[in-house]
Structure formats: structure tokens, C-alpha cells
Amino acid sequence: MASGTELTHAAPTAGEYIAHHLTFLNNSGEMQANLIDFGLYNVDTLFYSIVLGLLTVFLLHRAAAKATSGVPGRFQAAVEILVEMVADQAKGMIHSEESRRFVAPLALTVFIWIFFMNAMDLLPVDLLPRIWEGVYSAAGHDPHHAYMRVVPTADINATMGMSIAVLLLCLYYNVKIKGAGGWFHELISAPFGNHILLAPFNFAMNVIEFLAKTVSHGMRLFGNMFAGELIFMLIALMGGAWTGMNAPSILLAAGHFVAGLSWAIFHILVITLQAFIFMMLTLVYIGQAHDGH
């Protein structure tokens, strides 16, 4: 992990370093001032997620184009293992052959794409931001504003965008499987019981359930990746405090190495697990849309 010093001519404080690393590069070029501003979009999140998404579909397409029923190569076998795993999970949770034809590929895409986006966390925290800073200042801009966040899943917009897409699919399948009338009836008759007086409470409960599922779906992934990224930054501060060959600097550098190594190794588990959990919840929620209460 590169040191965090020398971001500017005057070394930033730890707080400035962290804040700078947690600021998205949006189309205004300034830090977003308001909590919600739909006039802005995060260039870095979109860039990395689209590049990684393209990498995902490129790799998958390469495997698909060369897929034969003969003896598979290692790459093909690896993709096939993933496909089989996802197909098995989808089969267990969605009892509709026709829906599976769309939802299983969706789950595969979600799993691999999110895995790649999460894996950006394993790059040294300063590597890409530093390169961007060089490019940005070479173009004659203020390096203070060279914001860059490389982990798209540590952006709540990305994770909530995906979980809202899953919500929309749940609504679509609810209407498709149960019919608009049937679904509406379910909304006002479950979970408390089919009675006209209970209908408002049933409806409110269902709305809350959908909201809670969607928010927790997106927030879970965001929270894990944000925390992971933040801890990498805090670890990077240890090496960033280097002031020369003296005992505190050497100790901090050693701490940086040990902590960074162990957190990165642990993070291999976290990124895989979070990608898997997001995929499984996607399947569970869409599967619920197929079952009556």
C-alpha cells in the first residue's frame, strides 16, 4: 500500500487523507454538497463498474463462445462450475422453469460482477487515485480535486441501484405470476388475515417489507465494502506516517505490513461472501415473488 503522504505539496493530515479518499469524482468536479442531488452522477463509480461489468460479460461470453460438450479447458471448467452452482441455487429457490431462464443468468451476472467490483478493494488504496492525480494535475487541474474511488460497491448509489433493480424485478414477477388482482389481494390480505379492517395494516406491512428488503439488500453490500475500504485506508495511514529511518516509523511500517496483509487475506473471504450473499438474496427475493404468502 503506497503511502498517503505527498498528496499535495504540504502533507495532508490523516483526516484530510481519509476524506479525500472517500470523496467521489462526480460530474461537477466538486464534492457533493447535498445528501441527495440527482443532478450529479459519480464518474468513478460508473467507470469502474461498467469496465468491470464489461470484463465480466467479456469473460463469460468468451467461455460461452468456446463452450463445447467435449473435454473442457480450465477456464471453461471454472465458468461451468459457477454456472452449475448458480443454476443449482436458482433451481432450489425459483419454482418456475420460465422465470429461471432469466433469473439464473441474472444471478450469475450479479455474482461475478459484484465479485470483481469488490475485488477492487484488494488493489493498493493509493494506486489508482495516485495515477489519476498525476493525470489530473498534468491536465492543468488542481490535484486537490483529483477525487477517485475505485470500489464501486463501496458507493451506496451502485448497491442501491442494483437492489432497486431487484425490487423492480420482484414487482414484475409478482404481477406476472399472481396477476395484478391476485397480487393486490395478497398485499391487503397477508400477513394479518383477510379482513377489510386489517387491509390497511396488511398493505402497510407489505410496503415496509419491500422497502426493508431492498434497503437492507443494498446497504449490506455497501456497508461491508465501505468498511473494508475504510480499514485499508486506516492501515495505509500507518505507512503514510513514515518520517525517515527511526524506530516509530519502522514499527508503523511493520504494523502496516502485518495489518494490511492479514486484512487483505480476510478480505478475500469478505468480497466472495458478500458477492455470494447479494446473489442469494436476489434469488430469495425473486423466489418469494413467485410464492404466495
Binding site: Q32, T56, A64
Partner: protein, 157 residues
């Protein structure tokens, strides 16, 4: 943790990638997997069949071997029987030939003996007559004593 339009763009991007995977990635891979599963199943079935065929062939070859052995034994027994018969026949033929030869020899010897005996008898008769003639020179007339001589001859035979 600021919300902005990234959310909506990400939503669209996400669904686009899913659309791509659904149309161009999933079907060929699943098709290949299904085909391979079928191939493996067919291969296993063929292996089972080959194994059964092998067992059958082994059984059949054992049967063939056994029947071949049996027919060989039969053949050998037949040949031995025939050889025995041949020897037997040969022996019988030889015996017959020997018996015939012996009989012929006996017959011939009997005839020769008879002939010799006859000749000898004639000669003895003649000798006796000659001897008697010499003894009785004048007193015996061969004409007169023909009966006597003939009786003598008879007695000597």
C-alpha cells in the same frame, strides 16, 4: 453516502449486463453442459453394455471350448474304437488266412500221404508178389492166384 443519479444509471447498467448474459452467455454454456451430461450418460451406458457383451462373449467362448473338448474326446473315442475294430478285423483276417493255409497244407499233405501210401501199397504188393514168385517160382501161377493176390493187396491197403 450521498445519493445521486449514479443510482439510476447503475440500475440501467445492471439490467443491460443481465440482458447480455441472459441472451449470449447462459444459453450456450447450459447447452454445452446438458450435451456433456448426455454424452457422459451415453458413455457410461456404452461401457456397461460393453462389459455385459464381454461377459457374454466369455461365457460363449467357454461353452465353445467345452463343446470342442467334448467333440474332440468323442472323436478320439471313435477313432480308438475304429482302430480297435481295424486291428480286430486284421487279426481275424490273419487267422482266417492262417487257418485256410493250414487247411490247404493239411489237405495237400493228406493227399500226398495217400498217394505215397497208395504208391507204397502198390509197390509192397508188387514186392510181395515178386517175393512170393521168387519163393514159389513155379508153383504159383499169377493167373491162377490172381484172387489171392488181390485179397492180399486189399489187406495191405
Amino acid at each position: 453516502m450521498n445519493l445521486n443519479a449514479t443510482l439510476i444509471i447503475q440500475l440501467v447498467v445492471f439490467l443491460s449486463f443481465v440482458w447480455f448474459t441472459k441472451n449470449f452467455v447462459w444459453p450456450p454454456i447450459v447447452k454445452a453442459l446438458d450435451e456433456r451430461a448426455k454424452k457422459v450418460a451415453d458413455g457410461l451406458a456404452a461401457a456397461d453394455k460393453a462389459k455385459a457383451d464381454l461377459a457374454n462373449a466369455e461365457k460363449r467362448s467357454m461353452e465353445e471350448l467345452r463343446s470342442a473338448r467334448e467333440s474332440a474326446a468323442e472323436l478320439r473315442a471313435g477313432a480308438e474304437k475304429q482302430a480297435g475294430k481295424l486291428v480286430e478285423d486284421a487279426r481275424a483276417e490273419a487267422n482266417r488266412i492262417i487257418a485256410a493255409a493250414r487247411e490247404a497244407a493239411t489237405t495237400e499233405a493228406g493227399a500226398a500221404a495217400q498217394k505215397a501210401k497208395d504208391a507204397l501199397r502198390d509197390q509192397v504188393a508188387a514186392l510181395a508178389v515178386a517175393g512170393a514168385e521168387r519163393i514159389l517160382r513155379r508153383e504159383i501161377n499169377a493167373q491162377t492166384h490172381a484172387d489171392l493176390l488181390s485179397n492180399l493187396k486189399q489187406e495191405l491197403s
